[in-house]
């Protein structure tokens, strides 16, 4: 059952069935998993320096399970032509600048791990890559998608409504025209076999397609197999199954980003939506329906005008009212502007509150992977066993370090089953590519990120 902050407790069709009949045999050890968690707009480096006494406070309960890395130069952005928000966000998990409006400069770290450990694909029935998020600004894909294939294309379609993510993970697909007629179902399956065969040809050695296209068709083939599994192999939904999650009440798609002008939203609306998404994503991992992917909490350069009281524990941290507090409407009244107005010599109260709130929500998701329902076969939690990378875009809003715009970007990782140090806040002082390649080495992946001829500088201080 979902905890959610919503009023209703939500259950799932097929869930009991899935837990008792997983898509694959029970593993002897905790599986290799890797996820990226992105939050928008970042944390200015001076605020990171305050450690858990400042905006990082919500991460403190998880401190011994995280390695917080400061002073990581995410993407080399000390040259002209870099947009801290978009380029920084697209590079958050690739450590390379983007290569077009909807393409990253290379693969994201969790996809590199996926390919390294599951070169033949994931076990049947799994969602190969699960991408979800609660976000609004969508002018360019790299603002909110954070899983990329090595060729820079998005690794899967993002699910931005909790209900969509639920259906992507747990939903049984319906077979058109099949009905309950067993004969028709069998015939329809025969169609699928023929179609599968045809797709298989186009991924094989005799395919007329080039490498990029073959892989695109191979993705299609994987989805057909998944469809086949769900349409024909799964048992039917139980009659007493609980209902689907409720429909999302906040804007999505085009209405969520009216011409870059931003939207009005309350803290409760945002938090409720996100937590439902986080719960569902965590549940997908707990039920071993997915092992790789990314989750986004607010897009890069997000534009929202938030209202509502923000409390943490017993304390009231801040009263959000971005537009009124900035005496502005439209894009200029959005919380984004607090980042542009960041000044180390001032209190930056509104920015601090937003950043603190984001850490609270990130911690919520991480906490879901560390609870009693997240025990792996080795007795440790999913949070302990998985490689989870938490990152963001430039946190300094262009005002802090003109030479290295994207230096000091917030990064944190989990221990990945004891492979990396945890329980520390570390001044890493390294390029993002070196950090990520060191992580790949730690995960036993031989491929590396970044330009092929780039010498790797191992960052041993992050390894245990």
């Amino acid at each position: 059952m979902l905890r959610g902050t919503g009023t209703a407790t939500i259950g799932f069709p097929l869930l009991e069935e899935m837990i008792s009949t997983p898509a694959h045999a029970a593993p002897a050890a905790a599986p290799v998993r890797a996820f990226n968690v992105f939050f928008g707009l970042g944390i200015p480096a001076p605020l990171q320096a305050e450690g858990f006494d400042g905006v990082l406070e919500p991460l403190k309960p998880l401190a011994r399970k995280l390695l917080i890395m400061r002073n990581v130069d995410q993407v080399r952005c000390d040259e002209k032509g870099i947009n801290a928000h978009y380029d920084g966000a697209t590079g958050a998990f690739t450590a390379e600048p983007p290569d077009g409006e909807a393409r990253a400069g290379g693969g994201s770290i969790e996809q590199m791990v996926r390919r390294g450990h599951y070169p033949q694909g994931l076990p049947r029935g799994m969602v190969p890559t699960l991408i979800g998020g609660t976000f609004f600004r969508r002018s360019r894909v790299g603002r909110y998608v954070h899983s990329f294939n090595p060729d820079g294309t998005v690794a899967a379609t993002i699910q931005e409504k909790p209900r969509d993510l639920f259906e992507r993970v747990f939903g049984a697909v319906t077979v058109a025209g099949g009905g309950a007629d067993a004969r028709r179902r069998r015939l329809r399956r025969s169609i699928l076999d023929s179609v599968l065969e045809d797709y298989r040809f186009y991924t094989g050695k005799r395919s007329p397609l080039g490498g990029l296209s073959r892989r695109r068709v191979a993705d299609h083939l994987d989805r057909i197999r998944e469809y086949e599994q769900r349409a024909f192999a799964m048992k039917h939904k139980k009659k007493d199954s609980p209902p689907l999650p409720r429909r999302s009440m906040i804007p999505h798609g085009g209405p969520a980003d009216p011409g870059g002008q931003g939207i009005d939203i309350t803290l409760a609306e945002l938090s409720t939506e996100w937590r439902l998404m986080a719960d569902l994503y965590a549940l997908a991992i707990q039920t071993d329906r997915t092992r790789f992917g990314s989750l986004t909490f607010l897009a890069a350069g997000e534009r929202i005008r938030m209202t509502g009281d923000y409390r943490y524990g017993d304390r009231k941290i801040w009263k959000f009212d971005d537009a009124a507090q900035q005496n502005a409407a439209g894009d200029k009244g959005c919380s984004h502007e607090w980042w542009h107005k960041f000044n180390e010599k001032r209190k930056n109260e509104a920015l601090r509150a937003h950043a603190h709130m984001k850490m609270r929500e990130v911690a919520y998701f991480l906490g879901r992977l560390d609870d009693a329902e997240s025990r792996d076969v080795n007795g440790r939690t999913i949070l302990d066993n998985s490689m989870i990378t938490i990152s963001t875009e430039s946190g300094d809003g262009r005002h802090n370090d003109p030479k290295r715009e994207l230096s000091g970007v917030f990064h944190a990782i989990t221990g990945a089953g004891g492979r990396f140090k945890t329980g520390e806040i570390l001044d890493v002082g390294a390029e993002g590519l070196d950090v990520y390649n060191t992580m790949l080495a730690g995960m036993g992946v031989t491929d590396r990120m970044g330009p092929e001829n780039r010498p790797m500088r191992a960052v041993d201080k992050i390894r245990r």
Binding site: R168, I191, Y227, R404
Partner: protein, 886 residues
């Protein structure tokens, strides 16, 4: 008369030089277009015969028994039976010829005698005496050519022979050509000596065969004699071209012609040097920045040099200031020094004569690296149109409901690299296929392809699969496909089903097939551009012009191999452009180009724009589409008039919004000839709302620069505060902008685009015209416009003058061409496309610059008639290795 003081010996030598020079001038150049393999036998020794075509990976040949041959000067004499063959299959030839269905085999030879028979193999792609793809041989006193097609035997019979007595012991130029439509001709010494029609396609060619000279693969059809030259082209040379190669002589292929050398140097400049200069130099040394008085973006100014004099001395890097500063890492001043590899390229370019191609180095051309080749999935619109055209069912409502929306990338939502699939697609395709079949009259549909209603897979069902599949999947089916889909009929039959049920499931399966969902093309090759085959071309034409599949007439032309010529493609395009689908497709282009879907989500601040709602936004969209339709289709005007045509379309509500007097209900045409402020796309709400509530000059200027002037501006440098400045009394948008432009750090970039938006200041964030803003500031509309690549700004006094300037500028016209080209090919264009797009642009605007001119020039260009190919193995390419890892 004064006696000559020139000694007789000098006169003689001069005469020799003049004669030689005159001979050099008149000697014909060999045809090089579509040359796939060339052997000129210059090695003089050894076992290898090198492929000198310069096309793709060389298909070198090995002499099996070196003792059987004798190397002569620029020739190889075969004195005893041996095989001279490629190590592996002649893949690059087989693939290319299968695609084009056309070929030329050319040989300069001197037979050892006229008694050779078999025919004795001169050039062959085959395995043994009974099975072949292609052979040119000698049969006693005749030359004989065999080509295997779908209508010949596997041995290529019937063959085509020359006249008796044409094969003797003299040096002979023998050429065999076959066009895609089946016209085969054999020439001897530049003259036709035999011809026949040889119909059929080449899809049955065996991809395992090697290329051999002088013998059969089975070593039992030797040919003896001397070979001076062998060339193979992937098209049929014309009679004039054959004569030209004959005039060029047997040794003409040996050294690169001056033309070829120049061509290669120009390519070197385009591919290597222009990107290098663009990347490292033009930020400071282009026409606008011009630091040190040096403009390296144009040939003339680059060669002229800067304030410190010449910087490039052609042929001498040591004397070139450009090289010396770069070599010493003194340049570029900003950014990293050039890598050793880049320095080497620069030095080589100067030492080789600093050849320059074209006039302007346009940085936008080099902004992106080479684009990969992604298979094109049908967009939602294309899927709907394809189902409608293929089976006559309108599936638009459920398709738009079930299929995920295509996401916009790089300005268009048909960008192939971003057209991925997820589970929802698969489920939707399955449901839509079933739904489509439900709505069809299946028996009536199948009757188009087969009269039989027998459910016999051995007999009629295979024929139905073959014929119906060809229609639904936009080209002939391969044997494996026929077998695969016929299996469905077998399953239905074994389950007690009937013909109707089998046909229904067949159609349902085909509607989910990769060849239906994707536009599958042959993409593998040697990395060079190859001609697309006829069915691929037919599909390209129809999706570009109609956004849907080929019609019967186009399919028929493809079946007959008639689409190989630009003339025929032009004729088809002309026909297709009269179809209403062409109009719909042009509306899709405009919608994506100007991002009109954005209007549906527009939510301006209600406090400032109280009268706005989604209906008005919809009216703006309809205005722009109707306006485009009027210019492009009804009046058939040059598309540059989109910028300043003196009319528009408005509903009464939109008319009032614009300050026009409503003329009646519904969307009506309004004459703007007496409305000075309006006229053209950029004075319409759909584009004016791009600047947001505050009508940002930065956003509007960038929009015009990027979408109408094909300009490129890098993101602001790190550390720049980009927070918009709030307006107030005394501080209008114009004033804020001028303050920004007075800042040297900002002006370098902002003057390239922001001043254009001065001409739009009187339009508010939703396109209403006003003289004073909400703070009481008087607004202006005068300004200047800098065209990318130009050093001098052009002034305008009013927005109308700005629109006229834009409409009259070739950069705007170029941008329209580029945008349409990108939309057509479904990927961002890169440097390798630049030359072709330039040609398209010139042809289209010379023809009138109308929509129809642009589309016709586009589809008859190499951008559409050729395709990029991808080598199978790229050892150095990380990306390729990744691709192949799965």
């Amino acid at each position: 008369m004064q006696p000559s003081r020139v000694p007789p010996t000098w006169v003689f030598l001069l005469a020799i030089v003049l004669v030689a020079a005159s001979r050099t001038r008149v000697r014909a150049q060999r045809v090089t277009n579509d040359l796939r393999a060339l052997y000129t036998f210059e090695a003089g020794r050894g076992k290898q015969v090198l492929d000198r075509s310069g096309n793709g990976r060389p298909l070198n040949l090995t002499i099996e028994k070196p003792s059987a041959v004798r190397w002569l000067k620029n020739a190889l004499q075969i004195r005893a039976a041996t095989r001279i063959s490629s190590r592996g299959p002649a893949t690059k030839l087989i693939d290319a010829l299968k695609r084009t269905r056309a070929v030329t085999v050319e040989a300069w030879i001197r037979p050892a005698h006229a008694r050779q028979e078999g025919p004795a193999r001169i050039v062959t792609i085959s395995s043994n005496a009974r099975v072949r793809n292609l052979t040119l041989g000698q049969e006693l006193g005749q030359y004989d050519a065999r080509l295997r097609t779908s209508t010949t035997t596997v041995n290529g019979i019937p063959s085509l022979s020359t006249q008796p007595g044409t094969a003797g012991m003299a040096l002979a130029h023998v050429v065999y050509t076959r066009t895609s439509s089946g016209a085969a001709v054999i020439y001897v010494d530049g003259k036709p000596s035999g011809s026949r029609t040889l119909s059929g396609h080449l899809t049955n060619w065996d991809s395992r065969f090697r290329l051999l000279l002088g013998n059969e693969g089975s070593n039992d059809r030797p040919w003896l004699g001397t070979i001076h030259l062998v060339a193979i082209y992937s098209r049929a040379l014309t009679a004039q071209e054959v004569a030209r190669n004959h005039r060029a002589g047997s040794t003409a292929g040996q050294r690169p012609s001056a033309e070829l050398v120049m061509q290669k140097r120009q390519q070197f400049f385009e591919k290597r040097i222009a990107p290098l200069l663009s990347r490292h130099c033009l930020d400071c040394h282009d026409s606008i920045a011009g630091k040190g008085g040096l403009d390296l973006s144009r040939k003339a100014s680059a060669m002229k040099g800067g304030k410190s004099g010449r910087v490039i001395v052609a042929g001498r890097s040591a004397g070139s200031r450009l090289w010396k500063r770069v070599a010493a890492d003194e340049m570029p001043r900003q950014g990293k020094p050039l890598s050793a590899a880049d320095k080497k390229l620069l030095r080589q370019w100067i030492d080789d004569g600093a050849t320059w191609s074209g006039d302007l180095i346009d940085p936008v051309v080099y902004a992106r690296g080479a684009q990969g080749i992604w298979v094109q999935r049908l967009t939602v619109d294309e899927y709907i149109e394809t189902v409608r055209s293929a089976v006559g069912v309108d599936i638009s409502e459920p398709a738009r409901r079930l299929l995920p929306q295509d996401v916009r990338a790089d300005g268009f939502s048909n960008t192939a690299y971003n057209l991925g699939v997820d589970l929802k697609h698969i489920e939707a395709y399955a449901k839509l296929a079933a739904l489509t079949v439900e709505r069809m009259n299946v028996l009536k549909f199948t009757a188009r392809f087969s009269r039989s209603r027998k459910l016999s897979t051995d007999d009629t069902m295979r024929q139905l699969v073959e014929k119906m599949g060809k229609w639904l999947l936009r080209g002939p089916l391969e044997e494996r496909e026929v077998t695969n889909y016929s299996g469905i009929a077998t399953t239905v039959a074994s389950g007690g089903g009937d013909f109707r049920e089998a046909a229904s499931f067949l159609i349902e399966a085909m509607l989910q097939s990769p060849r239906f969902i994707y536009r599958i093309e042959y993409q593998r090759g040697d990395g060079s551009p190859w001609p697309v085959n006829d069915h691929e071309l037919a599909t390209r034409l129809s999706y570009i012009i109609w956004g849907g599949p080929p019609d019967q007439r186009l399919m028929q032309a493809a079946d007959l191999g008639q689409l190989g010529t630009r003339e025929r493609v032009t004729a088809e395009a002309t026909r297709m452009l009269t179809d209403p689908r062409a109009v719909s497709q042009s509306a899709r282009f405009v919608t994506q180009w100007l991002d009109l879907d954005r209007l549906a989500n527009l939510k301006p601040d209600p406090g400032r724009f109280s009268g706005f709602d989604s209906v008005l936004a919809g009216d703006m969209r309809r205005e722009t589409l109707a306006f485009f339709n009027e210019v492009a289709w009804k009046q058939k005007r040059p598309l540059s008039e989109l910028l300043n045509a003196q009319f528009t379309f408005a509903t009464p509500r939109l008319a009032r919004h614009y300050g026009l007097k409503p003329q009646g209900p519904g969307l009506r045409k309004y004459d703007l000839s007496s409305v000075a402020s309006r006229g053209g796309l950029l004075t319409q709400g759909a584009t004016l709302s791009i600047g947001g509530d505050d009508a940002s000059m930065v956003t509007r200027g960038l929009f015009i620069l990027q979408d109408f002037l094909r300009g490129r501006i890098k993101e602001p440098p790190p550390g720049v505060d980009t927070t918009p400045v709030p307006l107030k009394a005394g501080l209008s948008q114009r004033v804020v902008s001028e303050q920004r432009l007075s800042n040297v750090a900002c002006a370098g970039c902002h003057r390239r685009f922001e001043t254009i938006a001065f001409g739009l200041e009187k339009f508010d964030g939703l396109g209403r015209f006003q003289q004073v803003d909400e703070h009481g500031n008087r607004l202006r509309e005068d300004g200047t416009m800098l065209i990318p690549g130009d050093a001098r700004p052009q002034s305008f006094k009013t927005s109308a003058e700005l629109m006229d300037l834009l409409a009259g500028n070739d950069r705007v016209r170029q941008t329209i061409t580029w945008k349409l080209a990108q939309f057509a090919v479904g990927r961002p264009l890169d440097a390798a496309d630049a030359g072709t797009v330039r040609s398209i642009h010139q042809a289209a605007w010379k023809a009138g610059g109308r929509w129809t001119d642009l589309v016709t020039a586009l589809v008859s260009s190499d951008l559409v008639m050729m395709t990029r190919t991808q080598p199978d193995i790229d050892k150095g390419g990380k990306r390729q290795r990744d691709d192949d890892s799965k």
